[in-house]
Symmetry: C2
DNA sequence: AATCAACAAAGTTTCGAAATTTTCTTTTTT
DNA sequence: AAAAAAGAAAATTTCGAAACTTTGTTGATT
């Protein structure tokens, strides 16, 4: 079977994961139409396999569909960024509260470990001149930290909702944020989240999470007010 | 084109809506396997059309899928009921807070109207001996009330998440709750929600919502402790 | 008699093409 | 020349069948 796109096609994981990863790492322009043929040839899939993947991603809220007009990458605006961040803050906060209530020392240790890795990486990023080479690994490490924070929440329903909101927020960040969401202030923000979680201080932890996520929206506001060249994708 | 199941096939709406409605009104046993052939013949669809619908419903969290083992109606347990209700309370509460912050008099009027219809219906239900004939209309009216409550929330992201959680909670209620979720205490609970919303009292409103949704779980606990005959669907 | 392997049946997924709808281009009319 | 209509091209959706996987049954072996 042919792999027409050597850059993406020979990676591990299912075809679904490969397309999702491409989407989450900015492989498609925001607002752009996602032609089935495009997917077909780029990932070496048949028409129906491609369609099935697009349907799945639509179900997760990572794509939109218009009847008889195919699939779109959602338009990203300051408004939609705020909305997604607000939802994510709500769910991250609820998961954190549950984790704090139910997590044992094992959880604390895993959280401390995840933060240590993240802090180490972010320290290097502060000192580096070019951020781009770090973005992919940082995205993963940041996700792991937040996932670990939520991991002691007993409700898988809540954890899954959080995970989904996180993915959607990441897609937005990739599209609209200058350095994909990393800034110097990210370092102390993560530290505050860790500290309050280990102190079992629910409201402090939720406040820290909200502050962390709201600061994303602000960084758009300041650096590039009305429209960005990223935004007008299609034509 | 043939419509093999006259009971469901000639209804309005897309095939997707028809299947979804069947799912939400208890047309399939919880935990049961959802064979594609079954859907195919019952709704007069081709194999791929049926599959597409099942994929969509899976994306909304209304079905589960196991690789090469098809689609299942999610297992309903006291645990999962609690989880879904907790998520729903969180999202209903957040939407209500936003509505209270942003809703105008028009919103208040629509909310009062929706509650009036609901209260009228619920009063009749309290006096009736048989609840079953009311369930379908009550389900719709209850949904409309909660949707109206959320309707002044400016974030469609948040509103959609709420709507989805509501649908999932309804599917659980249909499966596990004796009278599908209606009890005498439902009447004052809805009244309290309305009152606190109109008073623009966010924390009272959220408390009322939480109390309303938590009372569902309790009604399972009391009436049928460990296992119910509904639960073991497949064999 | 119980265990295991081979076989058969049922069910799920994948495929490539036909049918439908939308979109773009060209032609005709005012 | 602009607007409307007709036609062509492109893209999306739908379809029925082939390929593959799981599940259930029968028969052979210890």
């Amino acid at each position: 079977m042919a792999n027409p796109d050597p850059h993406t096609a020979h990676q591990h994981g299912s075809a679904f994961d490969r397309v999702k990863t491409a989407l989450m790492t900015g492989g498609f322009k925001a607002g752009s139409r996602l032609k089935a043929d495009q997917i077909k040839t780029r990932f070496g899939l048949s028409a129906s396999a491609a369609r099935e993947i697009l349907l799945r991603l639509t179900g997760e809220g990572l794509l939109h569909q218009e009847e008889n007009r195919g699939f779109h990458v959602p338009e990203v605006t300051l408004q939609s960024l705020n909305d997604v961040m607000q939802l994510r803050a709500l769910l991250e906060g609820a998961c954190a509260a549950e984790s704090i209530a139910h997590g044992d020392v094992e959880w604390e240790a895993r959280l401390a470990a995840a933060h240590h890795k993240l802090a180490h990486l972010e320290q290097k990023m502060r000192e580096a001149s070019q951020l781009d080479p770090f973005i992919e690994i940082w995205t993963r490490t940041d996700s792991e930290f937040h996932e670990t924070l939520a991991s002691a929440c007993p409700s898988s329903t809540l954890r899954n909702a959080r995970q989904n909101a996180h993915e959607r927020s990441r897609m937005h960040a990739i599209c609209i944020l200058p350095t994909y969401g990393f800034r110097d202030r990210t370092v102390p923000e993560h530290a505050t989240i860790l500290e309050s979680a280990l102190n079992r201080d629910v409201s402090a932890c939720q406040a820290a999470i909200t502050a962390h996520l709201e600061s994303f929206s602000l960084s758009v506001d300041v650096l590039s007010p009305p429209t960005r060249h990223h935004l007008k994708g299609t034509k």
